[in-house]
Amino acid sequence: MPMEEQMHSFEPKIIAFVCTWCTYAGADLAGTSRMQYPANVRVLKFPCTGRIDPVFILKAFQQGADGVLVSGCHPGDCHYIAGNFHARRRFAVFRKLLEFVGVDLGRLQFSWVSAAEGGKWVEMVTDLTERVRGMGPMRDFEELALEEQWSGAITTPELQEAYDSI
């Protein structure tokens, strides 16, 4: 199949981790207002963004998500007072780690969407879906999972020495 056709038939899998009190409610409002958006997103409900462990984001990518959206209450509005403040720091650090390891951060979106912002939810989902559609499938973890072992590349002098002595 030609590359363009492949791209067009690629439907990104977007997983969203959202907090109950703000973003989930905002998404509900988008529904009540009958706003339309791409059907690629699957929403996981958390009590608070404070509950969202960075490991979940990693797991989502490993399970084949092409894009991940993490969204919660605006700072200062957290139903549990400070959960989103802690989450904010955690996410800031984790994304730097992922970026350094080579994950394209275009696939990972963070947002604050309040219960009144149905429109913003639609915008966030649509933006991410279309951006990831343009980037293509997230192959990194898929390829990694398919590999069984080390490639055998000799990259350090010690390995070269060991290899030579066989």
Partner: protein
């Protein structure tokens, strides 16, 4: 082995128009663990719920997934239905295929495929759901009220009238707070003491109220429904039971020249004193720091003249432990001091206003004492320096408030109104006196407030000058006030006989220490933080502790009384049941895995994490682990995401449940 029941709702046509519900039911029915899968037009209706309950019993279902609207809509409905059929409500989950699916996607194939995935995801999740029994915490139906100003008095009376015991603790020798110091109150010019003293007497006489005055909170332990509060009753040196309030000791005390803080140091009092004549209780206190007997061992006159023999120099502080179920904090406010460099205050001094060095430059509360009929001047407005009547008074608004450069950015809320009131009181007492007010804005939002304010200009002939004052200085026996009139655009100089500064409102001294004892949060100004600025203004994030009055933010009397009654209502809601029931979405520590790093404790917004010692059979300490108090935990799960070993788990949102969802997609 799970026997999951799946119920796909049509929601009339709301879901079935876009999602092929029969197909979803059929496909989900083939998933492992699903024993029963069906669709129905209106799951939330009575017949719908009946279908649910019947299926649970007939099909021996172990878990239930209702695919319908948002759980924010009907999760409670279905969990109650499931509970009535004999299944633990937390084994029931909802899959949102309406707000998140049928309403937002038009393509039938796409919407149906997504619905299948959503329901499948919830089926996998519910397999990891565990039975969560409702958590109950016993409640001691007694309340503590800290602070005996109008807020504390109102809250105490409301709670006590509802039939619950109240312990009211007041730091000063008498209740009454700042309201007792006021002469007349806006917007009606009621005499403050007249409206307040009946309430003070009610408190003293109320059978359900235990009043501790000249007492402070020493320690607070426990949690909502179960606090143990240690009160330190400071030694009055007078036996309250014997004292009849005759007052002879005060008249005979040779030490008469101690500045009376109630009168803002304008009046004097003896060493054995009551702060004001209408004090409740009317039992005097010996100021041991200034009393001759305590300083030198000589004197002892008061004891000699006391008929009932109530004076007791040997009396010591008493520590009393009171068990209570709720705490209302009503510690009130203080005015920012205009003296030089207030220690430890976030506000810097006002050198340009005489640093408190010019005696006729006073603050608002001092003016109240001058105006008060029971004050040091008998209600006459007189200059503190020479006792003469001032003919020109300059009032300066916003001294310290709304001034980011000096440290306070907030508005103190009450000053516009009380300054207008001051101009009126002044004009009533000194008919030929002229009041000038330098102001920035007039903030008069309450009922009849603006009309009141306008009266001071239209009827009481106060001159309001919009502009700020840059400097005051003494010139002979007058004070020169240099300010600007920005409406006209000129610099103004007024030679005043007296200057009254509307200084900023700040929380009481020691607010931070008390907050730390209680475990409640406060902001950078030491005002106490409410749980949610709009929706929970009288509760603290710490369960069981409520706020009333100016300790939460600058406030006038009507709002203070409203808030006090609101706090009392919250307490009464708490006491309405014998046991406090709460949703069991709480964190629990798996002690085997916990290494006691206490990251959970550091991040918990509710302070719900305590330390627990694990000891072996010989009593040796093995390790200290975290323990989450289920009565206090808010259920956010921040602890679990922060714990490196995930030894603390949020019931209802465990890692297993979440990973099951991710893996199902």
């Amino acid at each position: 082995m799970s026997r999951i029941g799946v119920f796909i709702c049509h929601c009339g046509e709301n879901i079935s128009r876009t999602v092929d519900v029969e197909r979803v039911a059929a496909l989900v029915g083939t998933l492992p663990g699903v024993a029963f899968s069906t669709d129905y037009k209106y799951m939330c209706s009575d017949p719908g719920q009946g279908l649910l309950k019947k299926a649970i019993q007939e099909q021996r279902l172990s878990h239930v997934v209702v695919a319908a609207c948002s759980p924010r809509m009907h999760e409670k409905t279905f969990r109650k239905a499931v509970e009535s059929a004999g299944l633990n409500p937390f084994l029931c989950e909802m899959a949102n295929i309406r707000e998140h699916c049928s309403w937002v996607h038009e393509d039938r194939d796409e919407a149906t495929a997504k619905a299948v995935e959503i329901v499948g995801m919830m089926v996998e999740r519910v397999k990891k759901n565990r039975v969560l029994p409702t958590i109950t915490v016993p409640v001691t139906k007694r309340s503590l009220v800290i602070g005996g100003g109008i807020a504390g008095i109102q809250a105490a009376l409301d709670i006590a009238d509802a039939g619950h015991e109240v312990v009211l603790v007041e730091r000063e020798p008498s209740i009454g707070g700042h309201m007792a110091q006021l002469s007349e109150t806006f917007p009606t010019l009621d005499c403050s003491q007249c409206i307040m003293t009946p309430k003070m007497v009610d408190v003293a006489n109320h059978p359900k109220i235990t009043l501790y005055t000249y007492a402070e909170i020493e320690q607070v332990e426990g949690y909502i429904g179960n606090f143990q509060v240690t009160v330190r009753k400071k030694a009055r040196s007078v036996d309250e039971d014997k004292c009849t309030g005759c007052g002879v000791c005060m008249t005979k005390c040779p030490q008469k020249k101690i500045p009376n803080t109630f009168d803002r140091n304008l009046g004097m009092r003896p060493a054995i004193y009551v702060p004001f004549p209408q004090a409740v209780p009317n039992t005097p206190v010996i100021d041991r720091e200034n009393c001759t007997k305590f300083k030198t061992g000589k004197c002892g006159v008061c004891q000699k003249v006391c008929g009932p023999g109530a004076v007791d120099y040997e009396q010591e502080d008493q520590l009393i432990v009171e068990p209570v179920g709720a705490i209302v904090v009503a510690t009130g406010f203080d005015l920012y001091s205009i003296e030089e460099k207030p220690k430890g205050s976030p506000i810097k001094g006002y050198g340009e206003f005489g640093h408190g060095k010019i005696p006729d430059v006073i603050d608002g509360m001092t003016f109240e004492r001058l105006a008060s009929a029971s004050g040091p001047t008998g209600g006459k407005i007189l200059r503190p320096s020479d006792g003469r009547e001032p003919k020109q008074i300059v009032f300066i608004q916003c001294v310290g408030s709304r001034a980011r450069e000096k440290g306070i950015s907030y508005c103190s809320k009450i000053c516009c109104m009380y300054t207008a009131k001051h101009t009126m009181l002044y004009h009533h007492k000194v008919h030929d006196g002229q009041a000038y007010v330098f102001f920035m804005d007039a903030r008069t939002p309450g009922k009849s407030y603006d009309e009141f304010w306008r009266r001071s200009i239209e009827e009481e002939e106060a001159v309001y000058i919009r502009g700020m004052v840059s400097r005051l200085y003494q010139k002979g026996d007058k004070i020169v006030v240099m300010g600007s009139d920005i409406a006209v655009g000129v610099q103004v100089e007024i030679e005043a006989d007296m200057v009254v500064l509307a200084t900023a409102v700040q929380p009481q001294k020691g607010a931070d220490t008390l907050a730390q004892k209680l475990g409640i949060s406060y902001d950078k100004y030491h005002f106490y933080s409410e749980a949610h600025a709009k929706l929970r203004p009288v509760e603290c994030a710490t369960a069981g502790i409520y706020l009333a009055g100016a300790c939460q933010g600058p406030k006038d009397i009507p709002d203070t009384v409203s808030q006090a009654s609101a706090a009392a209502a919250k307490v009464m809601t708490l006491f309405a049941k014998d046991k406090l029931e709460r949703e069991p979405i709480v964190a629990r520590v798996r002690e085997a895995g916990c290494v006691g790093c206490f990251y959970c404790q550091k991040v918990c917004p509710y302070g719900a994490v305590e330390e627990k010692e694990i000891r072996d059979r010989q009593g040796n300490l093995v390790k200290v682990v975290a323990y989450v108090n289920p009565g206090v935990c808010g259920g956010c799960g921040t602890c679990q995401a922060t714990c490196p070993s995930k030894s603390v788990e949020l019931d209802g949102y465990t890692d297993e449940q979440i990973v099951a969802m991710i893996e199902a997609l």
